[in-house]
């Protein structure tokens, strides 16, 4: 069921696959989504600042990091009127389809690719069939290209269906860096949602399987901390200055030692470090990048607070300053059983679906939880639906790919679930 005469959902996904853009730099992707929405004749298209709470964006790159991607989009002939509205990294779209009285239903997908070079191997289908990434060093290796295509296909399907109500589709930027979820959740469009569907493809589930609602995404926070001391000559004046290297090492050792929590699973990692100038100079500045996670938002906050305490004390110990900064964060939110049930019963009737799984544990983090949390706080229901796809290798690997067949299944499940919402209403 192609969403229009000349473009199948699979073709559309291939188009997006060619131009992966990292978080807050989805200029070309956003513009293409807008053009597709225009051709679908939706009722409202909010772009960038209109779609987001501008001051709630997290993990926004510097102007110097944004610029080349904007230029690249401009160079590729992307419409200036659209790019102008995205300047400063205000990517992302919300599309609204108004179709009579009935519930307001949301669907959220994500736009960004990741910084990983795509495989040029002949066995890799995107390479073999000529739709591999044209942005060197970047790739849609997590299926967000498929998510976008399914969302567009779903809009088309709903538009042509008996759905009565309002559909809002959130094309969220910067999911990989947990940067866009909060801004989209607080941008206004989510305020009146009675139902929210989120979508992920694959995750080791094959084509034909649907998971009606994922549970237990971990709450997460990503932090950086720069220890600032004072340099001195390590031979002549080892006692002078403040040794940022010792402060950072002490902080790292103790970060991993933050106690396990009796209420459930926690995580901590210091994944990057950089600093110092030369072996014979007491290091003046060391920056670490860390993350903490928790099975609940509270557990994540416990870890974050402890990590901050560790950093402050380590700095004090070595006469340094530090201000840990939260770069991005996402809470935990679970799928509502009632909405999971609706998805399950709809999915069982979709052609190509062989197995419907009620729920699975997610085990990692996703900032769609900000949207889910907001909807649930307002009394609405949310479910994070998994559409199985045969993927040759793991997500976030250079040979990741998806199965075309699963895309149509995704459109069918989601559009039927959305339609079912309108008949749920009392």
């Amino acid at each position: 069921m192609p969403y229009d005469a000349h473009t199948s959902v699979a073709d559309l996904r291939r188009a997006f696959h060619r131009h992966p853009e990292p978080g807050w730099r989805e200029f070309r992707t956003t513009a293409r989504v807008v053009e597709e929405l225009e051709s679908l004749d939706v009722d409202d298209i909010a772009i960038g600042r209109e779609a987001l709470a501008p001051d709630k964006r997290m993990a926004v790159p510097s102007a110097a990091e944004l610029e080349p991607w904007l230029e690249q989009a401009r160079g590729a002939g992307v419409r200036s009127d659209l790019l102008d509205r995205m300047e400063g990294g205000y990517t992302g779209v919300v599309a609204v389809l108004e179709q009579g009285p009935g519930p307001t239903v949301g669907l959220r997908v994500d736009l960004d690719g990741i910084s990983m070079a795509e495989s040029s191997d002949d066995d890799h289908r995107p390479t073999a069939e000529g739709f591999q990434s044209e942005h060197e060093g970047y790739m849609h290796a997590c299926g967000h290209d498929a998510h976008i295509a399914i969302a567009l296909g779903t809009i088309d399907a709903v538009r042509n269906s008996d759905f009565s109500g309002t559909l809002k589709v959130f094309f969220q930027p910067a999911e990989e860096i947990s940067g866009g979820g909060k801004a989209m959740a607080e941008g206004g469009y989510a305020d009146d949602l009675e139902y929210l569907f989120a979508l992920h493809i694959g995750l080791d589930h094959p084509t034909g399987e649907i998971v009606a609602g994922i549970e237990k995404p971990l709450a997460m926070a990503h932090l950086t901390a720069t220890f600032e001391g004072a340099s001195a000559h390590a031979g002549k004046a080892p006692n002078e200055g403040g040794n940022a290297m010792q402060a950072a090492a002490t902080a790292i050792q103790n970060a991993y030692g933050i106690p396990r929590h009796s209420d459930g699973m926690t995580r901590v990692n210091v994944g990057r470090i950089k600093g110092g100038t030369a072996s014979n100079v007491i290091a003046e500045e060391i920056t670490i990048e860390a993350e903490v996670r928790g099975e609940t938002t509270g557990l994540m906050e416990y870890m974050r607070t402890e990590l901050e305490r560790v950093c402050y004390a380590a700095a004090e110990m070595h006469d340094c300053d530090v201000t840990p900064r939260v770069i991005s964060e996402s809470p935990r939110a679970d799928s509502d059983p009632a909405l999971r049930e609706l998805v399950g019963s709809v999915a069982r009737n979709v052609q190509g679906v062989h197995q419907v799984t009620e729920t699975t544990d997610f085990g990692v983090s996703e900032d769609v939880t900000y949207l889910m949390e907001r909807v649930q706080a307002g009394g609405g229901l949310a479910s994070y639906v998994l559409v199985g796809t045969d993927h040759p290798t793991n997500h976030h690997t250079p040979t990741f790919d998806v199965d075309d067949e699963s895309l149509e299944i995704g459109v069918a499940v989601l559009s039927n679930a959305i339609r079912a919402c309108s008949s749920q209403r009392p």
Copy 2:
């Protein structure tokens, strides 16, 4: 040259060797010194509180630790009138010999033994000749017994000489734990000293060698720190409480990492640790005992300040409290070249002296430096004289012993040096 008709200096030293007592518990030793002084008919004998600044004592044992030693002395028939004046650990004596107009000259020796079982080996002379320690687990293994005997012999020699002036001899308690030096320096008797001699025997120099004045005793501070957190069940509530074990481990690691100092040599050690209740309980309380040293008093203070900072920050990191306490401390003070010269020229004329060494580096710590510092601050001169002795094994070993011959040499060098002071005067 025995100091009186019936007791040689060597015999006297053997008497003291039999009854080693640890710091602030030199009850029997003090009483015996007083009795010897009485028989020497000195002009003033100040005991305990009279000889010391009572509130400047450091590293004073608890009442429970003092009591058994007081009882033991009482049980051995030591005079009650003397013991009563020492109650509470106020040991130590200052003897004053007034012998006409002239300079006020000081001599300082130390009284305490150490907690080490003396060798019962037949090759060990004190055992073979029957004067080994009668206090099990304690021993005069650093030669303080010899120091006392030499001091008494010196008083006798000076008394019978042409010395004109005042001689004050300080029998200081608690040298091994750096506890008595400050109290004696500030007890009043040192205020008018124009010259001060301190004495140590041995230190790897043989009988017949005199070192006119030792240099560079290290400044030292001995600290304890108790990390107090809150216990919790390690299985059920690992996140609760405050983990004193983690705080202590962090402090220890960082204590050893206190930077070397460009101004000179420093030392740090955490030598003892104890705490916690069971493997399945988050440790509530851990106590460490540490020391720092420095080539100068300033360097020691740098180390002490940094160690305290490390402890405070480590406690804060793990939600514990800590108050590092300085148990004892000693500054650095060096021998004055002018007085070294006087000692050297005197020593060269003493029978049995084969070698006079101008100076050597001490390398460890001694709280006589408080007295030296006080004398030097008042414009006086001080020298820390080393009297060589053939000792079979190192100081602080169970088979340490001294050579009788060196005792007479010590008396001759010191009494002649004291006499020389009176002729120095303009």
Copy 3:
């Protein structure tokens, strides 16, 4: 339903409450159990070595620690023939009741008290009613006294019932230190069990509630590690020797940093530390006591292996030796759903039972898992039954107590469950 004419289960529990004895030192307790069993006329009574695999005992105290407890029992008039059989810390009993053809059913309870002074508060019922601990500093603060009494009551009830088969009751020593479970599991008596019931009282469940089978006791290992370096004078030779203090601190810091595991919950704690001789001596020997736990036996083993690796590397880093030793250990074992169901259906018909809970998570460790594991490995079924009791304060607190009423309920539930086993048989 008192188990004999003159002694109620509650009275019996009070008798045991008076004489708490720690692990492997339950001399008086064992003897009293034996006497009760004799009066109950059971068919076989195995004591100490006969009841246990002698070489599988763990966490056995030293002779010096055992002796005073044996002497105390002797002094209290405990039968010599019994004490002689327990010499060396071979406490514990297995009682066998042979009652015709049918299944072999086991029941396991534990004997030891803990080292905690019992409250002398008037509000504390044992104190108010005069049955508080007569062993100063020790207390039955976890309900093992109740367990013993219920087990004896159960034997009496089964003996007088229609039960056909064999009942074996395991009175296990040293549960609190995870020392006796393995020895009892491998002592021979557990080899032919088709059913095994274990028992715990309280754990925050009120009188009238039964939990049919507890899940998820944590697997646990308790270890000690002694870091052995070489001492040296911290001022004169800081570079000599091997610093056991630094090795231990490094090990502790890194022990807490052992990574969380994706398969489930883990725990690590270093709960005690001791070592070193003086602040001015490089520490030659430091001993730590640690424990690790895991949601599964495999997770515990991961933690134990990592902890050992940390210790070895820390020792190597500081030129020390170390040999981590496992003092005691217990695996994870869960209650079988089929046996849980049997307990549940029996419990629902017991007077006084208001609520039957299918299962709960245990969250800590118990070495009954050795017995459960053995029975399950042989094809048998095991369930760890919780008998609710109103307890005024937490287990392991000085004011812990149990509700008399719950004791009779425990006897009824367990004896009826045991009877039900014989009718289960095909």
Copy 4:
């Protein structure tokens, strides 16, 4: 006394000041030295491989780092015949002046600048007078430009003097990174030296002061260590892989904790660190750059060995690999008193010299010690001469400069010292 008619030593120093080049990249500097030597008509000029033991070079940059500097020299019109001989970073020159029978005397100076942007402040004389660095980000901020000019002036002065013997002047590359000293010491030219003078300017001594021979340069080693573990997803699989971040933090903490040494001063510093890919990935690779120093070569080797041990154990603890690599190293060597005396007596007769200081402690490191050590091992004498200069700010600061007057003084002192060597000969 300009060394030729049209160029003063000061002008020459300005010329070298304009083109600072870092270690092993002194292409233009080497070529200019060669051209000056040609005009001075010396007897032998050895360049690069001929002047050095090629396989003893240390801290050699990669081809990618060498290339731009070679290209820059080529672009500036430097003679190809010279550049070709230096390809691969074989910079450096030895000049030989044969002037009849007599001793073989060496003089060593260094060629490299440092990576520091020179001040563009109007108060900075090189800027004000137009001879500031033309290589952006690089500067002669330690006076090596002055050293070269003085050496060339000295050759000219000796050539025109009564000196009888052989003079060898070593223009050593890569002093700042301790890379060239060993290669030059072992290149053959130093084998027959009877006397060696090394030269440094400034170091807080004013114009008019000469230090006849510097003592106690610290022995030094510069190391890197890359901890290689295995990456894993920090949320999904924290227990997998080997955490290079934890290994590095453990190594750093323990590196600073390497015990002080009783034999003398030591130093340790970890000055740079870099590694890891993202906050949510267990770090696979972390590289640290460290240095150790010692008051003697033995003490440096103690520190290096301990640092290596720490790295290996830290890697093992966290299941990582590491191979610490020594990048460069220099021993300790002191000036010979006899040669110091010669320099002192010569210097006292040089116009402009107001003060001759016998010796001072250097306190940092210098790889000229390789040459000194070699000469001394062969029975020769070496002295490291300091020529005072008024320098407005510290060495290694952007406003460092030297006083022209001191350059002529340097030439006079060194050429007269060299002449004096020939008359020393018996």
